[in-house]
């Protein structure tokens, strides 16, 4: 009886990890397309924008079935619930990556602000690293790593604030940059949100391992910006 459950759980974990890897690639490619102004790449990304959402639905269906039929308890219950909740966060991250790809297609206007694009690149690199690390923490049951990853979000938040200020300065210096800036604002916000979702993932790893529900998303980035 329990073997049947564990077998199902293993399959569920594999699907969940597969989804995580797809989402990680999506962020990388979407931000690459954005900073390199590669509309062609962006178009290929948005073409199949339902991929992550379809995968999420499959994971959710399997999770619900497992809960209804096997009625897991204790660590089994925490395992299944954390997959269900983390899948929601992964799906949001996938949507945000997609929005970045859309923004690449939509963005118009020159001049651009190279300093802002450099920060966007850096933010993307950070959230990508965080996502890869949190997936690693998930697979390896590493609570310490999960907490470290969540802490890294502070750096993303700092860059977000820095980018906002740079965009504003850029517009003041050259009002022509305002057109591209609306896209910058959008993209940095999306990246900052991705960071928050990774923190949520860290919370689910911690819940899975310790049964403790923690809130690690404590900073309000809007309060941090001096506008």
């Amino acid at each position: 009886m329990h073997e049947i459950f564990l077998d199902e759980l293993r399959k569920l974990n594999t699907r969940f990890m597969g989804m995580g890897i797809d989402v990680s690639e999506a962020i990388e490619e979407a931000t690459q397309a954005f900073v390199e102004h590669d509309k062609k790449l962006a178009q290929s990304l948005v073409k199949d924008d339902q991929k992550v959402s379809r995968a999420a639905t499959k994971v959710e269906k399997r999770t619900l079935k497992l809960m209804a039929l096997q009625q897991p308890v204790a660590s089994d219950f925490r395992n299944v619930i954390s997959i269900l909740k983390a899948t929601g966060d992964l799906e949001r991250i996938g949507e945000n990556a997609n929005s970045i790809a859309w923004e690449t297609i939509r963005v118009k206007g020159n001049p651009r602000i190279p300093e802002v694009e450099a920060i966007i690149k850096s933010m993307a690199k950070k959230v990508n690293f965080m996502l890869d690390q949190i997936l690693k923490a998930y697979v390896q049951d590493d609570e310490k790593l999960a907490r470290e990853v969540a802490q890294k979000d502070d750096e993303v938040d700092e860059e977000y604030v820095k980018a906002r200020n740079l965009i504003i300065t850029g517009i003041k210096q050259d009002p022509e940059a305002a057109v591209a800036s609306s896209s910058y604002f959008m993209v940095i916000r999306l990246l900052e949100r991705i960071g928050d979702h990774v923190v949520n993932l860290a919370q689910w790893v911690i819940y899975k391992l310790s049964g403790e529900l923690v809130d690690l998303n404590t900073k309000d980035t809007d309060e941090m910006t001096e506008l």
């Binding site: 009886m1 897991p72 308890v73 204790a74 660590s75 219950f77």
Partner: protein
């Protein structure tokens, strides 16, 4: 698998004022030498439902039966059982009086082969109660409390044996309630019932929680998690873990508890 003698125990404690019954180092020996329960020390909170869970031979039913002295003739029971300020494991205790305060409902419904009404009034009449009006009142009150009144109010003089198994079990609860106990012990009360009757019985128990303290042995994990406030896990005669049901079922502390409730025992 961890050795039970070396396994750490995690036992929830209550304030003295919250307790209604508690045991201290309760041990049970069958045939003089075979020990089936080892130093069980548990406290039960007033007006809650506590589930006792564990595999066959874990000692949970043996423990339950100690609480109203049902092991007297079959085993030696060492240790203390405090009901309010009285150690009811002492020889000078009137067990018949005790069982008025601590009632019991068994696994298989066991109504008397009499009418529904007589099942409720039997003990009261045996105790000398003759006032018909008062008896009628207690019949109605008990059946209402056991959520059975609406189903049987028009056939109180029909045989209890004509009722369904679920109704018979609720009648046994009503019968136990008639003598106004403080504590109701339940030994797998739903194991012989179908899902609909089980659900009705569970609703009844939940409603009774406002007035009574219930301690229930169950093999049904879902039942324990659905209706109990606290859960004690027994293993090979030892109480290994006792905590809120929520903690036991979402985040148990002991390895053996975790293995048992997840169903990966053995």
């Amino acid at each position: 698998m961890q050795n039970v003698n070396e396994a750490p125990t995690f036992i929830h404690q209550f304030n003295k004022d919250d307790q209604i019954i508690s045991t201290q180092d309760l041990s049970v020996f069958y045939g003089g030498t075979v020990q089936k329960l080892f130093n069980a020390s548990l406290q039960f909170k007033k007006k809650t439902i506590t589930a006792l869970i564990g595999g066959s031979g874990s000692g949970k039913s043996t423990f339950l039966r100690c609480l109203n002295r049902m092991n007297d003739k079959v085993a030696r029971v060492d240790g203390e059982i405090w009901y309010h300020d009285l150690d009811i494991n002492k020889n000078n205790i009137n067990v018949y009086q005790l069982r008025k305060n601590i009632g019991m409902v068994f696994q298989k419904p066991n109504p008397f082969p009499k009418s529904i009404r007589e099942n409720i009034t039997y003990a009261l009449k045996a105790n000398g109660e003759k006032n018909k009006q008062k008896l009628d009142q207690i019949v109605e009150e008990s059946l209402r409390a056991a959520a059975l009144w609406d189903e049987v109010k028009d056939k109180l003089d029909k045989s209890a044996l004509a009722m369904s198994g679920g109704q018979q079990q609720r009648l046994c609860i009503a019968r136990a309630l008639a003598i106004k106990p403080e504590i109701i012990l339940l030994d797998e009360p739903a194991s012989a019932l179908d899902p609909v009757s089980t659900s009705k019985l569970e609703d009844t128990l939940k409603q009774l929680r406002t007035d009574y303290t219930m301690i229930m042995v169950t093999h049904n994990m879902q039942q324990a998690s659905r209706i109990s406030d606290y859960t004690a896990f027994f293993h090979l005669g030892h109480v290994l873990e006792y905590d809120t049901t929520e903690n036991i079922f979402t985040n148990p502390k002991g390895e053996i508890t975790e293995d048992y409730i997840r169903g990966s025992f053995g």
